[in-house]
């Protein structure tokens, strides 16, 4: 099942193909004060809500997705933990880096169709990091790797937009590097885990201006999902509706700049599209890390 939130009032829906079926009637009995809290309650009690939702969606129908404004399916997760440097980088690394993470501000989250706004900060570059987002399904504290998957409710597309070359030299600069307004595009849907047979074997693709930039598989992950959940929950307790972003393969990272259209899709999760604005209209070379390495190696060889 692909859960979505849509419209000005963040109604609950289900994405079937390109149609959204309104299932918001099941939320009428829920006492909540934000769309995030509504989702937390549905996720935490999904055994109860699944059949109610399926009773509505089994008849099909719905409204074309293109006619609706989809919102981030988790607009303000209380905890948004992002893994740092968690891929083997397509064979360019011989061993996994030390496991590492940071908390990204929940104020960074935006949804499908929303705009990534590059701030007036003196960063050297702003980059896209396409990532698998894991949505926690039940309270997770001191979880063992063997029990990790039972704590996962579902998955989603996530872009950890990042800025570089800013902050205190030599220090952990994840706050100013990662927590900016609009730097957390998420969606379009929250895909329940029963639809994802092999989370450790999912293609992740990200395009900028129609050009494929990132194209990697979660099989390249350095610290796999069970180890990651064990480690994160050995430190901090997670609750239903919290998100862990699994990190990215950096080979395909590249700059985002004013006017760009960015799209991400993991497996068949549905595409999420975001545009980019930059009031300063800064410009960078349109190339990935891997392309830059290749270009610089050629330039060095030709000298």
């Amino acid at each position: 099942m692909k859960l979505v939130l849509f419209g000005d009032d963040y109604k609950l829906g289900v994405l079937q193909g390109e149609n959204v079926i309104d299932v918001s009637q099941i939320t009428q009995d829920i006492r909540y004060f934000s769309p995030q809290e509504m989702m937390n309650i549905i996720i935490g009690n999904f055994d109860k809500y699944r059949s109610l939702i399926e009773a509505i969606t089994s008849n099909g129908g719905g409204t074309p997705r293109s006619q609706l404004r989809l919102r981030a399916p988790l607009p303000e997760p209380p905890r948004l933990v992002c893994m740092a440097g968690n891929y083997m980088e397509s064979g360019t690394r011989t061993e996994a880096g030390a496991i590492s993470a940071f908390n990204k501000s929940s104020s960074s989250v935006i949804g499908d169709g929303d705009t990534v706004i590059l701030p007036d900060a003196p960063a050297t570059v702003f980059e896209h990091e396409a990532e698998l987002g894991i949505v926690i399904g039940k309270k997770a504290t001191q979880v063992k790797a063997a029990d990790a998957f039972s704590h996962i409710f579902g998955y989603l597309n996530f872009v950890d937009v990042s800025c570089r070359g800013i902050g205190r030299p030599g220090a952990d600069n994840f706050f100013i590097g990662k927590s900016w307004h609009t730097f957390g595009p998420m969606g379009p849907a929250l895909v329940t885990s029963d639809e994802v047979a092999e989370p450790q074997n999912l293609p992740i693709r990200l395009w900028v201006q129609g050009e494929l930039r990132q194209d990697y598989n979660t099989s390249d992950m350095a610290h796999k999902i069970p180890a990651m959940i064990e480690w994160v929950t050995s430190i901090t307790t997670l609750e239903p509706g919290d998100v862990i972003a699994c990190g990215t393969n950096h080979r395909g990272l590249g700059p985002l700049q004013d006017g760009d259209v960015m799209e991400i899709e993991i497996a068949d999760f549905g595409k999420m599209t975001n545009s980019v604005t930059d009031s300063q209209k800064r410009v960078w070379v349109r190339e990935t890390h891997a392309q830059k390495e290749e270009r610089e190696a050629k330039e060095a060889a030709g000298r």
Binding site: S100, F102, W180
Partner: protein
């Protein structure tokens, strides 16, 4: 006014002369599912509730605060942003460090009387960092320095418990595993409303371990002022009523926490927040501050 949450049900109370006056009558007017929501909404609409709280406080008897279990006044702030390296360190720095911060997990928050649990790992040391906590009063998005104080609802004591050095999985030190372990965020005992704090940039901050004064510094030593801190953070990320900004610490008085320790913090006259420390591994470190260690080693 001093706002508290207390008891198993996180009831709303007003602290008055060492007694907790029940303010459930006000809380009943604020629909909520969690105590954090109650406080965030109370803070956002405080103009509406202030006089009622003052009346309750004036007429209520209250129960002695040592007979009420005080909870963290903000048990799960959606955003808990902590400043890093934000003091001039009693003249040992010639200029402020570049401004820097991190997000601490809201799962770290504990209240007065709660236990700090040191996790199993071989971190080099676990330190206390006594800090002034700022409680945000309204949505703060790209706030200017000159307007920064308009966005502050009040203040509290917070200890940014921190671990340093390598852990048993070979991880390099960073702010996530260094700062976000469960129980590493003692906060309270109350929220002191801003009208009670005449000069937030001139407050003594004291922390004791086993009765020994470890940290004793003043917020006038801050590297980046409160105004600048609020402007800078809200330039990056939006804060909401009930969010917390911790102002960073003066590191000169940092020292180890270990099994059985009793730690107390008090900023100005905010009331003492007391926590105990448990470490299943019962590790021990020399009981000295960084300044004392430097003096001994030299």
């Amino acid at each position: 006014m001093r706002l508290v949450l207390y008891g198993d049900e996180y009831k709303l109370g007003v602290l008055k002369n060492g007694a907790v006056v029940d303010a459930t009558a006000v809380a009943n007017d604020i629909p909520h599912n969690t105590p954090q929501q109650l406080m965030s909404k109370l803070i956002a609409d405080f103009d509406k509730y202030r006089s009622q709280l003052e009346q309750l406080s004036a007429s209520g008897q209250g129960i002695p605060s040592d007979q009420a279990r005080l909870r963290a006044p903000l048990p799960r702030p959606p955003r808990l942003v902590c400043m890093a390296g934000n003091y001039m360190e009693n003249g040992t720095l010639s200029q402020p460090n570049p401004i820097s911060a991190f997000n601490k997990s809201s799962s770290t928050i504990i209240g007065d009387g709660d236990v700090i649990t040191i996790p199993a790992s071989n971190a080099r040391i676990y330190d206390h960092e006594a800090e002034l906590a700022i409680i945000i009063g309204k949505t703060a998005d790209r706030v200017s320095e000159e307007n920064a104080y308009d966005y502050i609802f009040g203040y509290s004591n917070i200890v940014d418990v921190s671990h340093r050095g390598k852990t048993d999985d070979g991880n390099r030190h960073n702010f996530f595993n260094g700062k976000s372990p469960d129980t590493f965020g003692p906060l309270g005992p109350s929220i002191v409303t801003a009208d009670e704090v005449a000069d937030p940039q001139n407050l003594p901050v004291k922390l004791w371990v086993q009765g020994d004064l470890r940290q004793d510094y003043n917020t006038n030593d801050m590297g980046h002022s409160i105004k600048k801190t609020i402007a800078w953070i809200s330039w990056i990320t939006t804060l909401q009523p009930g969010d917390v900004v911790a102002c960073g610490t003066n590191h000169r008085g940092l020292g180890p926490l270990q099994n059985g320790d009793k730690m107390e913090i008090e900023v100005a006259n905010f009331g003492k927040l007391t926590n105990t420390v448990v470490d299943a591994q019962k590790r021990s470190w020399p009981r000295e501050t960084r300044t004392q260690q430097q003096a001994r080693q030299s």
